[in-house]
């Protein structure tokens, strides 16, 4: 029961109480007066008192029926008007004193009804407009062959169309309120959203174009992502449009072939022309017959060049529709997609190796090519497991298929490339795919007993926003020269560097004062086996430090309090990390004294031990390049030509450190440092030297 209904009833009750009190007062007063009065006057007094009581009762009944009850009724009616039914009829009291109140109540009721009607009309009109717009939007979305998905920044799907659903793996792969990351390649979505959120308006486009794989079947979709903003201009979500990347390539392939052939022919003609002209002009003693033959060459090649020029001019007219749409594709996505496709067709195990990077390729046809090559390797060479390795080589990324065996003869590889793809969707053969990317492939042996097919592919430009994220200040250097001297080191010291298994890791902390209570907030690690980085075998955990992360530290590693809220504490993460590391492993970190101290302090309280041999890529770098002053992770990576476009988090740094380690092995071996013992000795010595220098 609400307050509005209770208040008038209380007033009526007060009125009734008042009359009752008067009645009692009169009765009591009368009784007392009767007791005190002279006996002869009592009869008269009793009559007067009785008359008074009757009058009082009459007045009470009159007031209660004419005033109290109608007020109650009015209150009930108004409550119904206000709460349930604005047009509810108000009772009209019979007493004239209450009619003004009733009239006023009627007036309020009339205005209320009019206002309600007006709101209802406006609401109906607005609803009709929204419905209309919604219908138009629905028609538009339904009509689009492109899939459209609208998501919040948390990747929850807010809107999608049928085409989007059709383009994903299964009808229920996408749903309102569910995460898009469950339906499409997580890495691609996160990367491109990150680029949009961190873009410098002048430097990067407002939309991102890329190719990504569906989450389970690995089917490739061409995607375009744009940010949505709220009224204040703050990003609130994104719109993703999706299209099948399959059927649009034949024409472009033909155009590409024609242009390339024309250019090659021109080079050939120019070659003949130049050689003949130089011979003629070279002051050689030519016979008239020889001179005639050279003259004929000059004439013939000049005419051919003119003809070729006309062909090129025609090709130029059509070039607008002949250009390929190459997209940024993450090598991890590409290889994962390849692995998923192979799982359905071929019993070949794929291991991914090398530092993941971004390619600028037509990934669909590239996967067709890789699948085809692997199928040929399986059928003709019996290959059942291979490594797909990527390595940055200037503006190219070498993609290698590596297996145990012998290289494929060039003539055989050519034959494989001319066989049409069996289940491929891109409608070209291997030669076409290679031409499309302006590249070629070959087979050779780089290590004993191991062969590879190398395909150099164009690298994507480092995204500026991601690059900017990496430009954080490096951590100060820490030295702990007892790190390398552990009992386990002795057991491994005669082993070749490449034969050992490594876990390369990075620890991010609340601060740099580990002895003063700073603790880990993130651990990232990756395995390096047989001299190759294995990005699929990685470890990544955020750790709840149980204390606030100072903003100064967040500036180093980007980990915020919000990110670690609800994450497990170090006491739970460290045993997991210990299991990941295993026993027969060498631990590696950049500026390892810091990371190992952070690890061992945590381990001491958990009863764990990390007494593995330890390598420090910073000390290795300092010993290899004593002339260089900057041995920060980014500086070394830049010197080695490694892409520093990855995330600057624990795993991103661990991956980069791992790639640096593998490159350092090559340099170390070239300098005759091939065994762990030699390397530990060398780094220890140089480390002490640098530390001593820094004291002065």
């Amino acid at each position: 029961m609400d307050t509005a209904a209770r208040t008038p009833r209380s007033a009526t009750a007060l009125l009734r109480g008042l009359f009752l009190a008067l009645l009692l007062a009169e009765t009591l007063g009368g009784g007392v007066a009767l007791g005190l009065a002279a006996p002869d006057g009592r009869a008269v007094l009793a009559v007067v008192l009785a008359g008074g009581l009757v009058v009082l009762g009459g007045v009470f009944l009159l007031v209660d029926r004419g005033f109290g009850a109608p007020l109650d009724r009015l209150a009930r009616d108004l409550t119904i008007v206000a709460r349930d039914h604005p047009a509810h009829p108000l009772a009209t009291p019979s007493w004239p004193w209450l009619r003004r109140l009733t009239a006023a109540s009627h007036a309020v009721q009339t205005r209320l009804c009019a206002a309600e009607a007006s709101i209802a009309d406006q609401l109906a009109a607005a609803t009709a407009r929204v419905e209309d717009q919604k219908r138009r939007l629905e028609t538009l979305l339904l009509d689009l062959s492109e899939g459209v998905v609208v998501c919040g920044l948390d990747h929850q799907v807010l809107l999608y169309n049928q085409s989007a659903s059709d383009l994903l793996d299964e009808p229920h792969a996408i749903g309102l309120g569910r995460s898009l990351l469950a339906a499409l390649s997580r890495e691609a979505i996160l990367h491109h959203l990150d680029r949009l959120l961190h873009r410098d308006t002048a430097a990067l486009p407002a939309t991102e174009h890329f190719v990504c794989a569906t989450a389970t079947a690995g089917r490739l979709r061409r995607a375009r992502m744009a940010l949505m903003t709220d009224h204040a201009g703050t990003p609130s979500g994104y719109v993703l449009t999706l299209a099948d990347a399959g059927a649009e390539f034949d024409e472009a392939a033909q155009g590409d072939r024609m242009l390339r052939t024309a250019i090659e022919r021109q080079r050939g003609m120019l070659g003949s022309l130049r050689a003949a002209a130089e011979t003629l002009a070279g002051g050689h003693d030519l016979s008239s017959e020889e001179r005639e033959r050279f003259d004929a060459v000059v004439l013939h090649e000049t005419l051919s060049l003119a003809e070729q020029n006309a062909v090129l001019a025609r090709a130029l007219d059509e070039s607008g529709r002949l250009r390929w749409v190459m997209s940024d594709v993450h090598t991890g996505d590409l290889i994962a997609s390849l692995r998923r496709r192979l799982r359905a067709t071929l019993p070949v195990e794929i291991v991914q190796a090398g530092l993941p990077d971004w390619l600028l390729v037509d990934s669909l046809s590239l996967i067709d090519l890789l699948e085809h090559l692997i199928a040929m390797l399986a059928s003709e060479q019996g290959v059942r497991s291979l490594t797909v390795a990527v390595a940055r080589n200037g503006r190219l990324i070498d993609l290698d298929l590596i297996w145990q065996g012998v290289p494929i003869r060039a003539a055989d590889l050519d034959r494989w490339l001319e066989v049409p793809f069996a289940g491929g969707k891109s409608g070209v053969d291997g030669c076409g795919v290679l031409q499309r990317h302006g590249t070629d492939c070959w087979s050779r042996s780089e290590r004993q007993g191991e062969a590879l097919i190398r395909i150099p592919l164009p690298a994507a430009e480092p995204p500026e926003a991601v690059d900017a994220l990496r430009r954080r200040p490096p951590r100060p250097e820490f030295y702990d020269f007892d790190l390398a001297v552990t009992p386990a080191s002795d057991a491994y010291k005669d082993r070749p560097l490449r034969s050992l298994a490594y876990v390369v890791f990075d620890v991010e902390t609340t601060g740099l004062d580990l002895s003063g209570g700073d603790v880990p907030v993130a651990i990232g690690a990756v395995r390096v086996v047989n001299g190759r980085v294995l990005p699929m075998e990685s470890f990544e955990r955020l750790v709840n430090p149980g204390r606030a992360i100072p903003p100064g530290s967040t500036r180093f590693h980007g980990v915020t309090d919000a990110m670690v809220a609800g994450r497990p504490p170090l006491s739970l993460v460290l045993p997991q990390f210990s299991r990941f590391v295993g026993e027969t492993t060498v631990l590696v970190a950049h500026n390892a004294a810091f990371d190992m101290t952070a690890l061992r302090r945590g381990a001491a309280t958990s009863g764990l031990r990390f007494d593995h041999p330890v390598l420090d890529t910073l000390l290795i770098s300092a010993s290899l390049d004593p002339e260089e002053k900057d041995h920060s992770l980014d500086a070394i990576a830049t010197r080695l030509g490694l892409a520093v476009t990855g995330r600057h988090d624990a795993l991103g740094d661990a991956l980069l450190t791992a790639a640096i380690l593998v490159r350092q092995f090559e340099t170390l071996e070239a300098r005759g440092i091939e065994r762990l013992g030699q390397l530990l000795a060398a780094t220890d010595m140089h480390g002490r030297l640098r530390a001593n220098q820094m004291q002065f």
Partner: protein
């Protein structure tokens, strides 16, 4: 004894100039117009240098290079690839398959003569 050169190219116009220049430089010259003919000529007698065009009928220059490098009888043979393909990847492929040098058309006649001379000198050294 004069060093011997095989010029392998299907374009008679470039062969005309190269043959003339190589003879002028004092080399013994043979000519092959397709990939199979190169292998036959080498099998007949291993030359000191093969000037090897990439785009040839029957068997392309890469295949020929790969086959020659797989043949132990050709261990001392120098291979210079001549091609109208100008891309860095193709150059890398040629060198990966065992070519000693790579020159892109249109080249200077002086350059190619000098390259043959240097390549032979390198072998001698």
């Amino acid at each position: 004894m004069a060093a011997s050169v095989i010029i392998a190219d299907d374009d008679p116009n470039i062969v005309l100039s190269l043959e003339f220049l190589m003879k002028r430089a004092g080399y013994e010259v043979r000519v092959a117009h397709d990939g199979d003919a190169v292998l036959a000529a080498v099998a007949d007698s291993v030359p000191d240098v093969v000037l090897l065009d990439v785009m040839m009928p029957k068997r392309n220059g890469y295949d020929v290079c790969d086959a020659l490098r797989a043949d132990p009888a050709c261990r001392g043979l120098r291979i210079i690839m001549l091609t109208a393909r100008g891309q860095a990847v193709e150059r890398t492929k040629g060198l990966a398959l065992g070519a000693d040098a790579y020159i892109t058309k249109p080249f200077s006649t002086r350059e190619v003569v000098e390259l043959v001379r240097q390549t032979l000198a390198g072998r001698a050294g």
